[in-house]
Symmetry: C2
Subunit: 426 residues, 2 copies
């Protein structure tokens, strides 16, 4: 198990992880040249002159500001110049880059000033670099591999910093004061209200995580749920929790791909799976929904998205979420339009995800000793960067969170208004 | 003026309106042939065997049902076989077709059973027919012409059957019991809440009709409004109403195209204009919004739409709304994505438009004598068909009504939830 974990998140360095010789080390930390200083200064300008500090290994200051980025050796500098999107993450993880001050503030400032036409391959980068790091294809086997990479690294790890219910998607802060656990319950309630679940109805969930929503729907709304997931670790935990709560007759967890969903259901729900589906499979997903949704059934898709088409941050895609892609609303319509589904409601919960991630990062930071013991320091730094970077992405608006509610187009049993989503003080 | 009206809505028949000779009339009503009966029966089957009656001029019954379509002469039959989408409207208008029973029920049943692959040119139709009736281009001059066709046919006419505030877009029935006038006010309130207008802010409205929303925003929210419209009749009425209410310092009505909007505004709103913009101009519209919207400004676009791309009903496009096109959500994103606008909220008010149209048709039917005196019987029948057909389109789901709220992507001054849209009993 341990080996599997290390494998999934190991960070292969450009030198193949070979221990560097004394000579290499000496070269790597010899005084920076005027040329190198000019190049990194040019990169800072190309980034839109963010109000952050940048300092080289020999103490040379490229820019003064706070938080402050420290580039700890010559190799890290050149790697940053060639492909900052990818190498920033790797070199931060292994400590060749450091940030004094809050990491999310640093990243937020970078995202804030980043010009739209910033060359994705960096100042020296070439087009083939993005080609190298294009999103991994989500075939049936590819999806299993991609999902295992992230979700099978160990339930014990996620239990350290997610809420007790193990919900690993954007929460809903019905009021800003809610705790993480309360906001996750509020999210599940919000979704159930949108779907207007009635006792005795059947629901299919595509990509169910550790099963919190499935169990919530069964317990609170008296529906029968069939939930699909291709992460073995998650399904095992989901089944055991359902059994412990006496829900195993009401909620069935199926270790299978969403493409194999069959049957007929009154509601279809998918929270945080679409990011892993891949745009070229949206039409398939729509066909699956069309196949299984009852005549007056309701569907909800909840997904990270973007305002304009573009790939996931390549470091996140490579190290954290292989195969992940946040779609635009236009791209999401590829699920609905071919089958004439009627979109009833789109809600953007962007700032709720920033808040959720803040709560996760906060919890993560209090447990870094345990994470380090499970994995290593590189892992701790990589996950810190991933969580902080995600906060910055949602706060700066480079990522969105869309909840899309839909039905078949001839379903006239839809609520007259959305008032039922806001029941007031209960 | 009268001449202009007749011109705008005259219906040129296939025989050029020439009075038919006795011989032509005799041929036109001679007993239907077995071949004609087979053809119209085949069309009824191609329509998905709707539960309506169809009867020929000689009493021959093609299908038994209610409501019942009467085809009153041979020419009408052949025109229907060649291009039902276009000729049904024209021939109903001049009385060569009749429907016993409620027209909207008849049309609803047709839309309900209509197969997706129904040949748009009818049973005998050819592809070139759709080419002939493609939507008219909305260039600056083209738009003026297209808008005049519909909106300049006389304020007196619209006053007969719209509410007193002259609102000619989908109302919002916050509760199903509202009257038309109440629901139009509720719609304006709903939009103002979505835009979170604050006293002293500036608003630009693109396509303002007779100015009801502009005046509502000024009166109730204390904002300063600049409203654009290219219909002369509407702008004249809007100005006079604003003046009568003492709002002429606060609301400015500009007789000009949305493409010429300049300045900077805290909110952009457009209700029922997008249908006339044309898909190939959405990018321009987005550029206009991007040019004039303040940094933390909010925008709302309210438009008829569709679940899948396809042209407007050709008769409506030709006789009622030249240049009109209801977009899909995917197509609407062409306004927002190029400028990285962030879509916050999409609400589908489809059934509210069906209800609105029912109220309009009801009022229209009580005033047909006055409409007939203003125009003629053909006009009355054409508008009855347009209103009834629109009810059926919204009820069957072949048309949608989308309200899209958006801001710039880095605007974090957005409300935490949508609770403020549902203030409860006031």
């Amino acid at each position: 198990m341990k080996e599997n974990k290390t494998d999934a998140l190991s960070i292969p360095l450009w030198d193949g992880g070979v221990r560097r010789s004394a000579l290499t080390q000496r070269i790597g930390t010899a005084r920076s040249t005027a040329f190198e200083r000019r190049l990194i200064h040019r990169m800072w300008e190309a980034l839109g002159q963010p109000r952050v500090g940048i300092e080289l290994w020999d103490g040379y200051t490229v820019a003064v500001g706070s938080p402050n980025l420290r580039i700890n050796d010559r190799g890290a500098l050149w790697r940053l110049l060639v492909n900052p999107d990818l190498h920033f993450g790797d070199d931060y993880s292994v400590g060749r880059l450091d940030v004094d001050g809050p990491l999310e503030t640093f990243l937020n400032e970078i995202y804030r000033t980043l010009p739209e036409d910033f060359p994705i391959g960096g100042v020296l980068g070439a087009g083939f670099i993005s080609w190298l790091y294009r999103a991994r294809e989500n075939s049936l086997a590819g999806s299993r591999h991609n999902i295992a990479h992230h979700y099978d690294i160990g339930n014990d790890f996620y239990k350290l910093w997610l809420c007790d219910e193990l919900v690993y998607t954007c929460a809903y802060y019905a009021t800003p004061q809610l705790t993480l656990a309360e906001a996750q319950v509020a999210k599940m309630e919000h979704i159930c209200r949108k779907l207007r679940l009635r006792p005795g109805e059947t629901v299919v969930e595509a990509g169910c995580g550790w099963g919190a929503l499935s169990r919530h729907m069964a317990k609170r709304y008296g529906v029968k749920v069939k939930a699909f997931n291709i992460s073995e670790e998650q399904v095992r935990e989901a089944r055991s929790r359902a059994k412990a709560e006496g829900l195993d007759g009401q909620v069935e967890f199926v270790l299978d791909d969403y493409r194999n969903i069959g049957g007929s259901f009154d509601a279809f729900v998918s929270v945080g799976m679409l990011e892993h589906v891949g745009v070229n499979h949206y039409r398939n997903l729509g066909a699956v929904i069309d196949r299984v949704l009852a005549r007056n059934g309701r569907g909800l898709v909840h997904s990270i998205g973007k305002n304009y088409a573009g790939p996931m941050n390549p470091w996140i895609e490579k190290r954290i979420f292989p195969g992940a892609y946040p779609p635009t609303l236009r791209e999401m319509m590829e699920i609905f339009e071919p089958h004439h589904f009627s979109v009833l409601d789109v809600e953007n919960l962007r700032l709720h995800y920033a808040r959720t991630l803040e709560h996760w990062l906060e919890a993560f930071e209090t447990r870094t000793d345990q994470v380090r013991a499970m994995f290593d320091e590189h892992f701790v730094r990589a996950w810190r960067l991933y969580l902080a970077g995600s906060i910055a992405s949602f706060e700066s608006g480079s990522l969105q969170l869309f909840q899309v509610l839909f039905t078949r187009q001839d379903n006239n049993e839809v609520p007259w208004t959305r008032t039922h989503l806001y029941p007031g003080e209960e």
